[in-house]
């Protein structure tokens, strides 16, 4: 099968959605001629024109509201927020408007919009351009939160997000943009709310999100050499969360490590650990659940400090050894 980078996969999903449905359009800061801060929308302006690939002023609240208003009246906007950090400037529109309109209005309206945004650290962009805020949005009924970890998932989940009738926060990871993987050419959506077992194993379950998935897979490969069979699961959608798949694996292996980049306290890993602890898998646990999350600190600039702030492959290997020893 054809190999695409993660960024190319996102772009292909956007291109296919634009070609397939005239209600779909893109808006965001510098997504036109510039091609987006990370080059994701490169070439789409030429192909679809400035009405459907729409550069906006730097007005995160207004452009988020703009996507909402367009969605409520029959369009299917895909909004790019240049860095996930900048969503803070649009929180009111997203959390108090987009997430609540349908419910507040008794089901008489819908808000089919996607907000794509690059998240995460590792680029030396420091504290205000490296946030992983997905848990904030996963806490809000009315929103869906998707975080693909591979090229194929990026394409399939984005197509599904654009076809979804709800506001979807689509979290892309900057370090994944250049990673490569096989991607089907056909526009086949991957259903939201379905986790994927990325590697099967019987000894320990590693539940990882976004960029932590490739790190967990690399760690699993090293651990296999020591005879430890790691099962790596990517929830892929954080709201709704496919707890069933996670619980089934925890029950099978009896050992669980949850790995995520966001600050550990109250991150998505807390929810995942709690879901497993609340489930019947609890009786099958052979060791305490381990959460491996970001340190309790803003993301620093210095390369060594930055790497130390979030889980790395070595940390995952160590955490797995820890639960295996318990």
């Amino acid at each position: 099968m054809r190999v695409l980078t993660y960024a190319e996969a996102v772009r292909e999903a956007l291109r296919q959605a634009l070609a397939d449905d005239e209600r779909v359009f893109l808006l965001g800061e510098d997504i036109g001629v510039y091609g987006g801060a990370f080059g994701v929308t490169e070439g789409l302006l030429t192909e679809f024109g400035p009405e459907r690939v729409r550069d906006t002023p730097i007005s995160e609240a207004a452009i988020t509201g703009c996507a909402i208003g367009a969605a409520v009246t029959g369009m299917r906007p895909v909004l790019e927020i240049q860095f996930m950090d900048f969503i803070t400037l649009a929180m009111e529109q997203l959390v108090l408007q987009a997430a609540k309109i349908r419910y507040m209005f008794g089901g008489t309206a819908r808000v089919p919009m996607v907000l794509r945004t690059p998240a995460g650290s590792g680029t030396g962009a420091a504290a205000q351009h490296s946030e992983s805020l997905e848990a904030w949005f996963a806490h809000v009924p009315g929103l869906k939160v998707v975080a693909p970890s591979s090229s194929a998932d990026a394409k399939g989940l984005l197509l599904a997000s654009i076809r979804d009738d709800n506001p979807v926060i689509f979290v892309e990871h900057k370090l994944l943009y250049r990673t490569r993987g096989e991607v089907p050419e056909a526009p086949v959506p991957i259903p939201l709310g379905v986790a994927e077992v990325k590697r099967a194993g019987d000894d320990v379950t590693v539940i990882a999100t976004s960029v932590m998935v490739p790190r967990a897979l690399a760690a699993a490969e090293r651990l296999a050499a020591d005879g430890v069979a790691v099962e790596v699961i990517d929830p892929r959608t954080l709201r709704p969360l496919d707890a069933e798949t996670l619980v089934a694996s925890a029950r099978k292996t009896g050992r669980v490590v949850v790995v995520y980049e966001a600050v550990k306290t109250l991150g998505i890993g807390a929810e995942i650990a709690a879901r497993i602890a609340e489930s019947e898998a609890f009786y099958h646990l052979r060791a305490p659940i381990v959460r491996l999350g970001g340190q309790e600190v803003p993301i620093p600039y210095n390369r060594r400090l930055e790497a130390a702030a979030v889980p790395q492959e070595d940390d995952i290997v160590e955490a797995v050894r820890q639960v295996m020893a318990a």
Binding site: S59, A62, G69, L96
Partner: protein
Amino acid sequence: MRVASPDLEQLVGMLRTMLLIRAFEEKADELFALGRIHGTMHLSLGQEAVAVGVCAALRADDYILSTHRGHGHCLAKGADPRLMMAEFLGKETGYCRGRGGSMHIADVRGGNLGANGIVAGGLPIATGVGLSIQMRRTGQVCVAFFGDGAANEGAFHEALNLAAIWMLPVVFVCENNQYAMSMPVRRAMRVERVSDRATAYGMPGATVDGMDVVAVHEAATSAVGRARAGGGPTLLECVTYRYRGHSKSDRQRYRGRDEVEAWRARDPIARLRARLTADGALTEAEADALAAEASAAIEDALRFAEAQPEPDPATLLQDVYA
């Protein structure tokens, strides 16, 4: 009733709608006093001319975005008082199935995209409605109502700029009722008029007497016409006054009785009634009959609403997602 011209007929229609809003608000106030309302409300008594004058300039398929003080906008846009009252009482058959209440009444099919509990919250959304209209080429117009307080929110500035650069068919209607809760407008902004800010975004701005439905209607007709013709947005400021407090918790320490009485002397309903009776368009008896009709419609709405079922807690989680 002697209706001498279509204009007079339209004016009588506006009087009828203003009377309906007043009757609704007075009934809402009464129900609250009787302890029959769960939650607060924001009454638009005194501001009827703005909602009615603006909405009378719209087509049935045009959109409005309303505010927390939204009962008048909703009725002026053509909502059914029965379904509004049912929502106000939190009933399953209300406009929002009892999930929204006073602060979120929406009549989406009728073009009212909802009252909004967040000051300036509707303004960014209005730009998207305008963009959607522009992209779908339907010739509709979107009106975004907001208060003087909203003009100091960042969202106001971002939204007006966006609407201006894209020439969106949006009319921004500021109901300047003199106070953002307790903060007088003269202490909250240095410019004389909210509409002075239009210049900053390169759009026309106008200030009209919001106690005069004819003046509001004329200005709104001009702004709506420009928007529909592709001429872009307008900032229309209507200077008005709310007779009651901000919400039900307001003890109104920030203003005196004399001030309220001075504004009441300019009452928009009394003013239009006087004009129509002076013109001979209505007799005093006919005008009284219109008021009685409005009260009867609200009594009917209340009877309807009271008879409606409460939502079933088993349906609590419905419609969080589509």
